[in-house]
Assembly symmetry: none
Homo-oligomer: 193 residues x 4
C-alpha cells in the first residue's frame, strides 16, 4: 500500500530484476504489471523507467539474469572434470532443483518463457541462448561415458525430460515430477558406467 510522503526508497537494478522475476514466475509476464513490480520494490511505477526503458527491456534482463545465474551455479558443474560423470549429473540436478523450487531465483525460461515467446518473438533468441547452454552442459556430462552421437541424443532427451517434468510439477503443484527425473537420470547414468 502506498503511504503518502513515504521515505524515499533506494533500490538497485538487481533488486528490481529479482522482484520482477518472482512476480513473472508467480503470475506470468502478461499478468504482471509494472505497478506490481514497482510496489514489490517499494517504488512507484514511474520510477522503474529510471532503470529500464520498457517492460520488455526488463523482461529481457530478467531472462539474462536467470541465464547467468544458471551458468554460474549449474552449467559450470558440467565442466568440472575433477568429478566423475555421475556426481556431476547428480550435482547439476541438485543445484537446478534448488533454483526451480526457490521463490527468489526461480526458473522461468521454460514455462513462462515459451508462452511469452509466442506473443513476443523478440524474447526468443534470449530464451534459445539459455537452452543451448543447458543442452551443451548436459551433453558434456554424457560425453564422459558416450560417444558424440549418443551424448547428443541423451542430452536432448534429458533436457526435454527435465523441462517436461517442470511443467508437470507446476501443473500438479507437485515436485515429485522433477525429483523423479533427477533420480532416474542419475540411476541410468550409474548403471551405464
Amino acid at each position: 500500500m502506498y503511504i503518502y510522503n513515504m521515505p524515499r526508497q533506494k533500490v538497485d537494478e538487481k533488486t528490481i530484476i529479482k522482484e520482477a522475476l518472482k512476480l513473472f514466475r508467480q503470475k506470468s509476464y502478461h499478468a504482471t504489471s509494472m505497478a506490481d513490480i514497482a510496489m514489490a520494490c517499494g517504488l512507484l511505477k514511474g520510477s522503474l523507467y529510471h532503470y529500464f526503458h520498457s517492460k520488455e527491456d526488463l523482461m529481457i534482463k530478467v531472462i539474462e539474469s536467470v541465464h547467468t545465474f544458471f551458468a554460474e551455479t549449474v552449467f559450470t558443474i558440467a565442466y568440472n572434470h575433477s568429478l566423475d560423470a555421475v556426481d556431476r549429473m547428480d550435482l547439476i540436478f541438485t543445484e537446478a532443483e534448488k533454483i526451480f523450487v526457490d521463490q527468489e531465483s526461480g526458473e522461468i525460461l521454460g514455462n513462462v518463457g515459451v508462452e511469452t515467446a509466442l506473443s513476443m518473438p523478440e524474447f526468443q533468441p534470449t530464451i534459445q541462448a539459455f537452452f543451448s547452454d543447458y543442452f551443451k552442459a548436459i551433453k558434456e556430462v554424457y560425453r564422459s561415458k558416450f560417444d558424440e552421437g549418443m551424448a547428443n541424443e541423451l542430452a536432448e532427451r534429458s533436457v526435454s525430460e527435465i523441462q517436461g517434468a517442470l511443467t508437470l510439477s507446476r501443473i500438479f503443484n507437485d515436485e515429485k515430477f522433477i525429483k523423479n527425473t533427477h533420480l532416474r537420470t542419475v540411476a541410468r547414468l550409474r548403471k551405464n558406467a
Copy 2:
C-alpha cells in the same frame, strides 16, 4: 485484417472455439483479445457474449474441447488391445503429432496452459484432468509389458519427455524434438519386448 462487409460467416460455438484455439496457440491467452477472436469469426466482439459468459469461460471450453479431441483420437488408441503395445505407442505418437503440428486443432495444454494457469488458477483443474488422462493412456500401453510400478514410472517419464519436447520444439521452431522423442520411445519399447 478486418475486411469491411466481409460475408457473414455461419458461426456457432464450435467455430468460435476453433478460432479461439488457433489464436491462443499463436499468440497466447493474454495477448489474444476478444476482438481478435470475434474478428476471426466474422463477428463483433460484443456478439461473443451470446455464446460465452466471459473470456475465461471461453478458455475453459477451448481446453475442454482439446481434451475431448485428444480423448477421442489419441487416448482411445491405448485401450485398443487388438493392437500390440509397440503399434499402439507408435500410433499414439503419430496421432498426437498431427495435432501438435496442426494449426487448427493444435495442442495448448502444455505451454499455453502452464503460463495461463499461473495467472488464472481456475484453469488448473481442467488442465490437470487432461494430463491425468494422458498419463493413464500411456501407462495402459506400458502395462502390456511391465508391472504396475514400472509402467507408472515409464508413463510419468514419457509424458514428461513429450511435454518437454513440445516446449523445445516451440522454442527452437523445430519439430525434431518431438519427432525424436517419438522414435526413441517406440524403439525402447520394441527393444524391451
Copy 3:
C-alpha cells in the same frame, strides 16, 4: 464532471471532430488530452477510440474537416464568376472571418498547424494541401484583373498577410489585424480596377 451511471451518451464522429477542433484551437494540440475531448463530448476517454485509432488520427480528421469546410464555404466563392473580383474577394474575407472568429468551426491550420507540424511531420501534407487550395482560390480572384505572374505574386502576398494577421490577432487578442487586412485587400483590388 463524470457522474456515475450517467445515461449513455450518443455522439457521432462529427460531434467529436467539432469538439476536438474547439479544444485544439483553444489549448493547442499538445495541451489537449483525449480525456478533455471526451469530456466535452460527454464520453469517457476510452470511448473515443471507437471512432478514431489515435489522437493523431483524430487530428488529421479535424484538419481535413476544416479544409472541407473552407473549400465549401470560402474557396468556392473564388470560382463564382457571376460575381466580380472585388465582390468575390470581399465575400471570401467575410466568410473566412466568420470562421476565424467562430468558436465552433474556427481555423487551426495556420497557428496550431504550424507548431503541431513541427513535432508531428505526419501532419504536414494535410496542412500543405489546405494552403495550396487557399492559394489557388485567392489567385483565381486576382486572375480576373491581372496576368498569371502578377496574380501569383499577389496571391502569395495576400495569403501571407492573412495568415500573419491571424497570428497577430491571436497574440494581441484583437481582431483588428484580420479586419484591417480585409479592408486593405479589398480596397487595393478596387483601386486597381
Copy 4:
C-alpha cells in the same frame, strides 16, 4: 543521441537558453522535454533546475533572449537615420532573415509562440512585447516617407506579411515566402520614394 561519459560541457544560463531555443524551434515547446534540453547541454535534467525554476521560466527567458537579440541586431537598424529608409528596410530584412533561417538563434515568437501562448497565457505579455517593438521599428522606417497614419497602416501590414510568410515558409519548407516578402517590401518602398 546521448553519449555515455560525454565530455562535461561548460554550461551556463546562456548555453542552456541557446540549446532550449534550438529544440523549441525544432520540436515545439510541448514536444521538447527538460531531459531533451539537459541532454543537449550535457547535463542531467535535474541540473537544469539550478538555473531555472521551471520549464515555463526557461521558456520565458528563451523568448526574452530572442527579443533582446532582435532588438540589438534588427530593430536598432530602424533608428539609424544615417541610412535612408530603403536601405534600412533592406537591412532589417537581411538581418532578420539570417535569424529566421539560422538554426542557432532562430525565431520562435511567431509560430511556436502563438501555439504556446494558447495553452500558456502567461507567455502572452512577453510575446506581445516582442511584437510591439517589432511593429515600432518597422513603423519608424515608414515614418521617413509617410505620415503617422499611413506609417502605422503600412507597418501593421508588413509585420503581418512577414509573420505569415514565415508560417508558410515553415509549412512548405521553402524559404521563398520570406524572401519574396523581403523583395516586395523593399521594392514598394523604393517606388514610393
